[in-house]
Symmetry: C2
Subunit: 458 residues, 2 copies
């Protein structure tokens, strides 16, 4: 399946962008969608529980953790659309939105499929992934609501990079707890956060009570996202002035809502091309990139306006949807967060060191979980080796080196496209290229070495 | 001068792109300029000399090294415009051209300058720099002219990455000699080349006669671009079947001509905005990014249609224009290339290990050299620490982490913008962001550590 040889004769190629409609030659803030889509207002969302009382959390329960507006948005099940503040839209424009929609002609050609494959290019963000969409929003609201310092966790480093840039942009300090194995394996990610001005600590760290307790038990523990979340939340709630708040990179509903900027843009782009996708595909870790990409189209499907099928792709090594249980669980390892009804592998799940660090989370956004439970979306899991095979195939056909996370979506797309080939059906498949892999070359290198790829020799 | 704090309140921002003129929503191959500009037809170019005869080289002299079309283009002093083959234009479209022109509002705001700063985004190429513009052209011509295998050198790895992708695209094998210090310091760059299917050897290597001789003298020698060029050329000319040719990443006239796609697009974009720049700034190593960016506008200046000033920025550690001599010299360390009339530090120059590996070349494109000698362009050199200060300032204001090479241009721009501030002149400054720095984080890390930046703490 891997593209080893050289197959491209002089293929015809086109990049499909979205451009302003009125013949202007410049892309400005006016081209950025004006609202996020809040799917909870249409289909609801399971209550979040306070583990002390096992009753639904109140805004007061969440306010030591998140800023006021983030809390409101997390609990909002009534407003279908939320206005995006102008300064957030300006930051979106500054940092590369509207992102292009591109057709993968060469991948199609290589697969010999009649399917048409399109991908949304979240990789063009300056921090390399979709994460900036929520980082900008959360940081702006924190600034407006009086926060001076944010804390967060990061796995692969994409969320931490995005939040570092956003905090610098809006003038907040930032402390990042980076999963220790990533901290050690990805020094460049750390340097990027520091270049933007973020402070980065390996987690478990001696900076928090929970970190100290974990280190006391196992000084060489490599950490998980769950551990890093506990540390970041503990640091936020421990600041009695209320000026330190926690910002979260995925899983939460308000994060998924901020990410719907992707799907809103996408629908406008698809309308312009007069296309309704047969399949939409994205990878899932905590669920925010899948949600942001798919929720606006899922709304259309639920209203009978589209018959698109949705596919969430996860690692076999962290199979929360395909092998997890739907139940209430903590969002972190230290059990200091509220409880979410979600597909979970258990809050003490410690995944193997897969290279797609952004997908190493034990749980799944509650609404994505519900949609999967109700068979409105599908899910599939693939092992890491197949993911890198898909990644290298994409790099060699389309030229872009995809993030290991995004390569899960690519693997799902390749299998759908080959199925379309078998059936000789001209299906339209759209996927989210959630990020590039330029900071993940260790994973590529391991894969290429182990394959004993004849094209590679040193 | 470095931006440590947080200065952006909610600034207004716009991204300036070039869009199709007819209101279409898609960017296709039709939007790619149809011709390269060959400045040698307007202002001539010093003869290249055969070192054996000290007479001008003939096409026959060069044909063991380059494919037929590359030789013709290198020696062409008559055709002002050269048609870009459709398949090359298709590949340009496939890999992200037309590139955006973007305004650096936040950098302007941070500097408090009345100057307007624009930058051309060559960083959006999938291989991260402008290098793909010539890689695609050379690889296509080699394929058409019957080559089956290319050899080349790479310093920072940007040229090698671009040529690896281009060779995979057009179906040629590729051998890359990577300067050994870079090979060791930049394993990720090597993995990128291998992901695209290139074979990579550290230079000096035991693969060539010259490499063996250098290793025999000094087994731990870290190599230079000059050494790597000798190895790549030796491997090409040693293949008596004629199926192996050498491809060059900079310095040569045909490379500079291919890069004029940048300047041609730029002029269209500036026309659309109704702007004539007061200053155009680019970094210089071998000269190809400066040439491609500036030559089309230099033509206008020479014809009295613009009074733009041009600034080439180089490292103080490798000051070929500002401290070199204008004379005939070899293009490589092993003295197997022809001789070029150029500003040179001597073909045996061994630069210190600056992080801007793409600028560590002893010579300069002959036409760029002539333009500097005739005071049509200016040049300035800055030391590495000031370059990284400018780089971090740009990252913190515009969000994009620039390549160390491109950061030379940024430093030049900052100084011009501060001068405009002193004089209170609303000048327009345009620079070429020739690449991103995501694979150069070691340089950033060293800089941040040595600065003892209070915002950085681990």
């Amino acid at each position: 399946m891997l593209l080893d040889g050289h197959i491209f004769k002089y293929a015809y190629s086109i990049i499909v962008y979205m451009f302003p409609k009125d013949g202007r030659m410049t892309l400005t803030v006016d081209d950025i969608p004006k609202q996020w889509y809040n799917i909870a207002a249409d289909i609801g969302s399971p209550d979040i529980l306070n583990p002390g009382t096992m009753k639904p959390v109140t805004a007061a329960d969440l306010s030591p953790v998140f800023c006021k507006t983030s809390v409101e948005q997390e609990l909002d099940k009534t407003h279908r659309f939320i206005d995006i503040p102008d300064v957030v839209r300006e930051a979106y424009a500054q940092f590369g939105r509207v992102t292009p929609l591109q057709r993968a002609y060469h991948l199609e050609q290589y697969l010999g499929t009649p399917a048409k494959i399109y991908f949304k290019r979240e990789d063009v963000s300056p921090t390399g992934s979709h994460k900036l969409n929520s980082a900008i929003a959360q940081t702006y609201y924190n600034k407006r609501d009086g926060s001076e310092h944010l804390t967060t966790e990061t796995g692969a480093g994409q969320w931490g990079s995005a939040l570092s840039l956003a905090c610098n942009y809006f003038g907040l300090d930032l402390t990042v707890f980076m999963v220790k194995v990533s901290f050690e394996q990805k020094p460049f990610r750390r340097s990027i956060m520091e270049t933007y001005g973020g402070k980065v600590y390996p987690s478990p760290s001696p900076m928090t009570r929970y970190g100290k307790s974990v280190l006391a038990e196992n000084p060489t523990y490599g950490g998980t996202l769950g551990t890093a979340i506990t540390e970041a939340v503990e640091m936020a709630v421990s600041d009695t002035t209320g000026k330190t708040k926690y910002a979260i990179g995925s899983v939460a509903n308000h994060v998924c809502m901020h990410q719907t900027i992707i799907g809103q843009e996408l629908i406008a782009q698809l309308n312009e091309l007069d296309i309704v996708p047969d399949h939409m595909v994205a990878c899932v870790g905590g669920g925010s990139n899948f949600a942001g990409f798919a929720f606006p189209m899922i709304e259309k499907k639920l209203k009978g306006k589209a018959d698109t099928e949705f596919l969430a792709v996860e690692p076999s090594e962290v199979p929360s949807l395909t092998k997890g249980e739907l139940r209430y669980d903590f969002g972190d390892s230290g059990c200091i967060t509220p409880m979410f009804k979600m597909y979970t592998l258990g809050h003490d799940f410690s995944p193997s060191a897969v290279h797609a660090g952004g997908l190493r989370y034990h749980g799944m956004n509650p609404i994505v979980s519900e949609l999967y439970h109700n068979k409105i979306i599908n899910a599939v899991a693939y092992p890491e080796e197949q993911i890198f095979e898909a990644a290298v195939t994409f790099a060699r056909t389309e030229g872009i080196i995809p993030a290991p996370e995004s390569s899960h979506a690519i693997k799902g797309v390749i299998d759908l496209a080959l199925e379309a080939k078998k059936k000789n059906e001209e299906q339209v498949i759209v996927f989210n290229l959630s990020g590039h892999g330029l900071l993940d070359m260790v994973g590529y290198e391991n894969y290429l070495r182990n394959r004993k790829n004849p094209a590679v020799q040193i």
